[in-house]
Amino acid sequence: MSNETQHSVDTHEEHGANIHTSGGHDHGHDHHHEEHEQHFFLKYVFSMDHKIISRQFLITGMFWAIAGGLMSVFFRLQLGFPEDTFQVLSTFLGDWAKGGKMDPEIYYGLVTIHGTVLVFFVLTGGLSGTFSNFLIPLQIGARDMASPFMNMLSYWFFAVASVIMFASLFVHTGPASGGWTTYPPLSAMKEASMGSGVGMDLWLTSMALFIVSSLLGGLNYIVTVLNMRTKGMSMKRLPLTIWAFLFTAVLGVLSFPVLLSAAVLLIFDRHMGTSFYLSEIFIAGQAMPNVGGSAILYQHLFWFLGHPEVYIIMLPAMGIASEVLATHARKPIFGYFAMVISILGITVLAFLVWAHHMFVTGMSPFLGGIFVLLTLLIAIPSAVKVFNWLTTIWKGNIKFTNPMLFALGFVSLFISGGLTGIFLGNSALDIHLHDTYFVVAHFHIVMGISAFFGMFAGVYHWFPKMYGRMMNKTLGYIHFFVTFIGAYVIFWPMHYEGVAGMPRRYYDFSSWQSFSQFGDLNKMISIAAIIVFFAQLLFVFNYFVSIWRGKKLTEKTSNPWGSTTLEWTTPVKPGHGNWEGDIPEVHRWAYDFRENPYDGSDFIMQDVPIDPTKEDEEH
């Protein structure tokens, strides 16, 4: 936005809180009154306030995290105790687990839905949806998104996608069960597996709607960041969270449509007799008529999203961790510019590495070589980020608040999970490790748990801004220690199982001479997983109790962490429109953690004007 336009908006806004963000100055009436009158449904359900929408994303994400987590508890019971029966399984799964022993069909169904909802609904919708929505307008100084209506639609597409995915659990042939990647031909023919029936159609419909949601959200985030920054908020003054959300949205907008096309072609193959992915198949006693398609084509399309998806999950977590580490170490983020460049580098490379998921498909070895090179290049910006985080806390003044612990845990997990990526990215090593528990351990640590830690850090950090209250700290500490230790106990030994060649997506290992010896270990992992699951319930409990019972913030403690960014200049509970008066003007970058010449504190907020006579200068 040019300074001129910005100025006219500012002048207008002196009239009061204007909830319109675009073109609001064309008709100058006061919306203050209207806001109070808003019906409950408009305020909390079909809301266009980015802050409410972000909470809708977060709470829907929590629902899916619990559902997906519970699924993992169920299949861990099968993996840890293949000989035993469990009452709880027949209670929840009914005929799928007659007598308390789960059927392989539902085992694969649970694995598939667990992966799908955790990757898409929790770590994309729940993470990016929550924090991009909440923080972009607040941190860049805007009253709302560029299009609040599109933003609302984005949530409701997500909600409908959620309902359809959830409904697919109840159809009589079961949910999709071909793994979260749903490779055809397995997913294309109902003869191939029960889950490839109606469950698969619902899966595809749900995903298509989710993609629409993600695109509506993403376009909005990009436009908002580029056009609606407040006066003085140049790109180089943006907090790293906003940089991360911006590039996340770019990744999503450019790659999700490819997944949509993959899904549409798959629907054609399933119902309209096309052969995009099908060729020379003999199944259920019959030769299918399809020839000439390529099952590998789907994998290319899928992973063209699938790999950027990993960074759609990681970048917001990285941005949040950067912000939290700097704030709670009371030190500027180290190497701000290098951080932005490395996010950019990761974004570009994210599009050029997808085929490293396909080294064993018989692809051209030359192409494989190129993908090895490009894949290992990603290690460089990732390493730069880690070293910058470490230097950020070096000689800091570290306050071990709940968000800080999760941010530190994020760094530890990102290192552990990132380094094993170097094994898998190297094709000659991947050939053996591909589709073993090594992969399971790798991606759960790096984009599962560490992204979750970024998300937890964000929730603990911004909860006070969301609800004007604090979360309970003691429960937060318990949550951190149990989850951090538990995560390593669960996933560390899996690397060894993978090195031994133990394949993933196996329902039972007992008939295998090479893999059955890990039985006791699998038991231990399952027990740890159950404990960690309950620790997450404790977090959810803490979240909801604190909404109503948490310690209230006052005007004086309205910036509880001593942050520099704009969201903490709003009232304790900002209404729609965020600032009651003018939007503050920004005068400095987002990480001015140093002695404040004006009030003696250890940070200077972004809206404090620079007074050169007080030894203050733009960084």
Partner: protein, 353 residues
């Protein structure tokens, strides 16, 4: 009933923890927030050291526990496998060093620079020199790893040497079928429309003379010859499967409509491996490594590595698939040697559907 009890128990624990949390916050207000926070910061700071120590001890303990369990696949049984193990080790040393350094620094800095109430953070916002250093070092390390990796990759994906043993392996829900060329050394044509479950399970084209002497093994057994390169021709009948050979560190997808290949040289016979692992029942196993449906986990076949003489003797006992089926129409075709497990799964699959 026990389920209800569990729910009540968990709710109770949560409530107790919450009360503890609430009261600790009350104490904080009584004692003065700042002092309380400093005290807590000290405790959590020290717990960072404890956490790191636990982490390291845990790693060592886990390693010692796991290594004996990994015996069945510990020794690489192919030339490529030896190469793989070397490469794995190099990567492990490089990443292991980075791992130890960065993990140590994470926990050490957290502990060392914990807020005490008096500490002041140093304002240190950037250094191009440092950025250059930690951009260049990972870049060099990656260059080395890429070089080693690509050398191994191009070797393993190069065309199989001439004179290599040729075996075709076909995956279907949920078992493997292997095919040997017979005396003419050639695998005849196959096409999916020729498939019938009775006497042509992989769809051989009987008009092609080369198929007439092909030997088909219905349990998918692979019989490899020690020190002789083997090329596997890989096919799938229905959905994508994957030929996973953990002992040989090899793996390749079986894709319907596409023929994939891989080759390697087995270096240790099954008999020698029995001695190496100390397990008289040791067998090499072939596992399906691509999700293929309900019976995925049971798609197992046995691999035998034997000497040339043993192999020749085995080959002599086999009769061609043609002679068992269309070549001998008087006799009812039989399904021989199919694995019981696979049979059972198909039956249950039929019942469920």
């Amino acid at each position: 009933m026990s389920g209800l009890l569990l729910v009540v128990l968990v709710a109770l624990i949560f409530l107790i923890l919450y009360q503890v949390g609430q009261s600790s916050e009350k104490i904080a207000t009584l004692q003065g927030e700042e002092e309380f926070d400093n005290k807590r910061n000290k405790i959590v700071g020290y717990s960072m050291l404890v956490l790191f120590a636990m982490f390291m001890i845990g790693i060592v303990w886990c390693h010692n526990y796991m290594i004996p369990l990994m015996t069945p696949t510990a020794v690489p049984a192919s030339d490529h496998g030896a190469n793989y193990d070397f490469m794995f080790e190099v990567t492990l040393w490089v990443t292991g060093a980075v791992f130890l350094l960065t993990q140590f620094l994470t926990f050490w800095f957290a502990f060392r620079y914990r807020s005490t109430g008096k500490r002041k953070a140093v304002f240190f916002s950037h250094s191009n020199k440092l950025e250059m250093i930690w951009t260049t070092i990972p870049a060099l390390a990656m260059a080395v790893l890429v070089a080693i990796g690509l050398k191994a990759w191009f070797k393993m994906t190069s065309p199989a040497p001439e004179g290599a043993q040729i075996i075709e392996i076909t995956g279907k829900q949920f078992n493997w079928i292997s095919r040997y060329p017979g005396p003419d050394g050639k695998l005849g044509e196959r096409y999916f429309k020729n498939i019938n479950e009775e006497n042509n399970v992989i769809g051989l084209n009987w008009d092609d003379k080369d198929t007439r002497d092909d030997i088909v093994i219905l349990n998918g057994e692979l019989r490899l010859i020690k020190d002789k390169p083997v090329e596997l021709i890989i096919a799938a009948r229905d959905v994508i499967h994957d030929v996973g050979l953990s002992h040989f560190r090899m793996k390749m997808d079986a894709v319907p409509g596409i023929t994939t290949r891989m080759w390697f040289t087995p270096t240790i016979t099954t008999d020698s491996m029995k001695q190496i692992t100390g397990d008289p029942n040791f067998v090499y196993e072939l596992s399906c490594d691509q999700m293929c449906g309900k019976g995925h986990y049971s798609m197992r076949a046995v691999v035998v590595v034997e000497t040339q003489a043993e192999h020749d003797a085995w080959l002599k006992e086999q009769t061609s698939y043609y002679s068992q089926g269309p070549g001998k129409p008087a006799e009812a075709p039989k399904m021989e040697g199919e694995e019981e497990g696979a049979e059972e799964i198909r039956e249950t699959a039929m019942v469920t559907q």
